[in-house]
């Protein structure tokens, strides 16, 4: 196996087995871990506190315990998280940060305080008026409050210098991911849609420094290999919350599609904005949030997401956009009609698929993806 292939399978394997990967990372680094709910959390602070930030984006658990708190029309990611918490599967975490980006998340904060008191819940609110001075000041205050909580949990003071270093690392991680993501179009066989997804997903379960080094190495190894023939493939941009169940990605591959870029909350939205180099670490974090646009969870008066997708289409010479709509995710559901209208206006084909994270039968989606692919041919 080539060096590139072995790195790919190592990372994809880590992405496929969240809990094992986290326990392995904890074991190797000797660090505690802190759970991070969607959409964004101050991971830089967790890392600066010498703990591991780990992603909590649902899972394949379906059960009945969460029904104690949630009606059937709650999004499947939050139901899976709650089910797993009630099963005690998160008990190895030292704390969990839950933010209030949407109405469901606000309720998560409240239910989890009662349902899983052992998890050291740290609720947090990101300001929606994040571009005005008052919002920036508020976010800085929130970061300071969370920092204090993290210090309490880790038993260690976080210095300004450590935050700076952590933000540097995260910038490096984000640049690396952008570079990696751009490489996919040249290696559509090695980096099939699901493989790409699992590699990105692994970032949630590994130490960020180690993960970034591995991806760096992978980029280097790939650059030594000749580009693969991508002729006849349909270049796809994914948009939405998350592309799971990942079976849908296999269906895309089977139908000759390659994911050349994404606008997924779980994917590129995590790394497409780099912190500006102004002020202290906290300031850089605050400014980065202020800069980021085109996300359903961040107030955007100008609603630039569709325009951004159109630009991405140009940049990547993509053939189409597939919107992966997580059922019952209000913020994403509200963005869709505007995206649809603007993509139609720009003559860009798009497909809307409604998914739940733990769907077992994808046959209906297969038919839709296949006919969309036939339409693009």
């Amino acid at each position: 196996m080539s060096k590139a292939m072995s790195l790919i399978s190592e990372l994809a394997y880590a992405g496929q087995r969240p809990k094992d990967s986290i326990l392995k990372a904890m074991n190797e680094t000797g660090k505690k871990s802190v759970g991070c709910f969607p959409i964004y959390t101050p991971e830089e602070l967790i890392y600066a506190a010498e703990m591991l930030p780990v992603g909590m984006w649902g899972g394949q658990t379906v059960g009945t315990l969460a029904d104690r708190y949630l009606q059937g029309f709650c999004c499947s990611i939050m139901k899976a998280n709650t089910e797993q918490a009630l099963l005690g599967q998160y008990d190895f975490l030292s704390a969990v940060i839950v933010t209030a980006y949407c109405d469901t998340l606000k309720c998560m904060i409240e239910n989890w305080k009662i349902a899983s008191p052992q998890l050291n819940l740290i609720p947090m609110v990101y300001p929606q008026n994040r571009k005005i001075p008052a919002g920036k000041e508020y976010l800085r205050d929130e970061f300071l409050r969370v920092k204090k909580e993290l210090e309490r949990i880790s038993g260690k003071k976080i210095t300004d210098q450590e935050i700076q270093k952590s933000v540097d690392l995260y910038d490096e991680y984000r640049r690396t991911m952008q570079e990696f993501s751009d490489l996919v179009k040249d290696y559509p066989d090695m980096l099939k849609a699901k493989t790409r997804h699992l590699i990105l997903k692994a970032s949630y379960f590994m130490d960020k420094r180690i993960y970034t080094e591995k991806v760096r190495e992978l980029i280097l190894e790939l650059s030594k290999l000749p580009r693969e023939n991508a002729f006849g493939r349909k270049k796809i941009i994914l948009s939405g919350l998350i592309a799971e169940p990942d079976g849908i990605l296999d269906i895309m591959t089977e139908n000759g599609m390659v994911v050349v870029a994404d606008d997924l909350a779980h994917g590129a939205r995590q790394f497409r904005t780099i912190a500006p180099d102004t002020g202290d670490g906290l300031n850089r974090m605050v400014e980065r949030v202020a800069m980021q646009d085109g996300c359903a969870f961040l107030y955007d008066e100008k609603k630039t997401r569709a325009a951004m997708l159109i630009q991405m289409k140009e940049k990547y010479q993509a053939d189409a956009v597939i919107v992966c709509q997580m059922k019952f995710c209000d913020p994403e559901e509200f963005d869709y009609p505007i995206i649809k209208k603007e993509l139609e206006g720009a003559g860009i084909p798009s497909l809307y698929i409604e998914i739940e994270q733990q769907m077992d039968s994808l046959e209906q989606l297969r038919t839709r993806i296949q006919s969309f692919s036939e339409m693009l041919a």
């Binding site: 969460a66 059937g72 739940e356 077992d360 039968s361 209906q364």
Partner: protein
């Protein structure tokens, strides 16, 4: 004699009891509200008891069609009636699971028979008898055959969708993917069982657990629910008639004046 009539969405039940509380007549017809079903079930019960309608001293009606039924002295919800009927036969019952055609409910009853709280399925029909009807239609079998089919099925088919309409298309694609009818039937039962377990988690569960309603005749569903809730379920001989029995007992209490 005291008559209880339970008019459901897909069946009608009538029970006659005497002053001592003994069941003297019973009628069950598989057509529900808006039909001749209620009348036929009452006639069956009267015939079995060997009495005339004018011999009935009091009548209580319950169920989905209770508000449309004329000729009852009182109408009471199926929640109170199921609790009443079950407590009469099984005094230690604390939790009652009732799955009818339109509704699935879990009822918590106090020691002295008072309904303390209850929860019902969300408005859609997933987890109800209606769901099984749809499944039977898609699997092209009779509804009473589902239990036997599922008993021969292997676990593994998951029908996770929250809505009956979606579940239907999910089942069709499972069959298209080569799953056997038996496996899919078992999957459908598990799906119902999980919905019921979810309701149980909301209200809390305490022994003894008794199941009523037509779906309780499907032994495979009952077993599936037992697995999900980790409690044994008391199987009644005549689970369908519990609402009507409870109504008949209410009718008797009315005359005793202690209602």
């Amino acid at each position: 004699m005291y008559l209880g009539v339970d008019i459901g969405s897909s069946s009608s039940k009538a029970v006659l009891i005497n002053r001592a509380g003994m069941v003297c007549g019973e009628g069950i017809v598989n057509i529900g509200t808006g039909s001749k079903g209620p009348q036929i079930s009452v006639e069956q019960a009267l015939r079995q008891a060997g009495i005339q309608r004018c011999d009935v001293r009091k009548c209580v009606v319950t169920g989905y069609g209770r508000l449309m039924y004329e000729g009852a002295d009182r109408q009471i919800t199926e929640i109170s009636c199921h609790a009443k009927g079950v407590k009469f036969l099984w005094p230690t019952a604390s939790t009652i699971i009732d799955i009818g055609g339109q509704d699935a409910k879990v009822i918590r009853v106090s020691i002295n028979g008072i309904v303390e709280n209850f929860v019902m399925n969300e408005k859609c029909a997933a987890g109800t008898g209606r769901f099984l009807e749809v499944m039977a239609r898609v699997l092209d079998c009779r509804i009473e055959d589902l239990s036997g089919l599922a008993a021969r099925g292997n676990p593994g088919v998951v029908i996770s969708n929250t809505c009956t309409v979606f579940a239907e298309s999910e089942v069709i694609s499972q069959l298209a993917a080569g799953m056997s009818i038996e496996d899919v039937a078992l999957g459908a039962h598990k799906s119902i069982a999980q919905r019921i377990a979810g309701l149980c988690n909301r209200i809390g569960i305490a022994d003894a657990v008794v199941m009523t309603g037509g779906v309780a005749l499907n032994h495979n569903v009952v077993t599936a629910i037992e697995k999900e809730i980790h409690h044994p379920i008391i199987r009644l001989e005549d689970p369908q008639a519990m609402g009507a029995l409870g109504a008949a007992i209410f009718a008797r209490e009315m005359e005793a004046g202690n209602s």
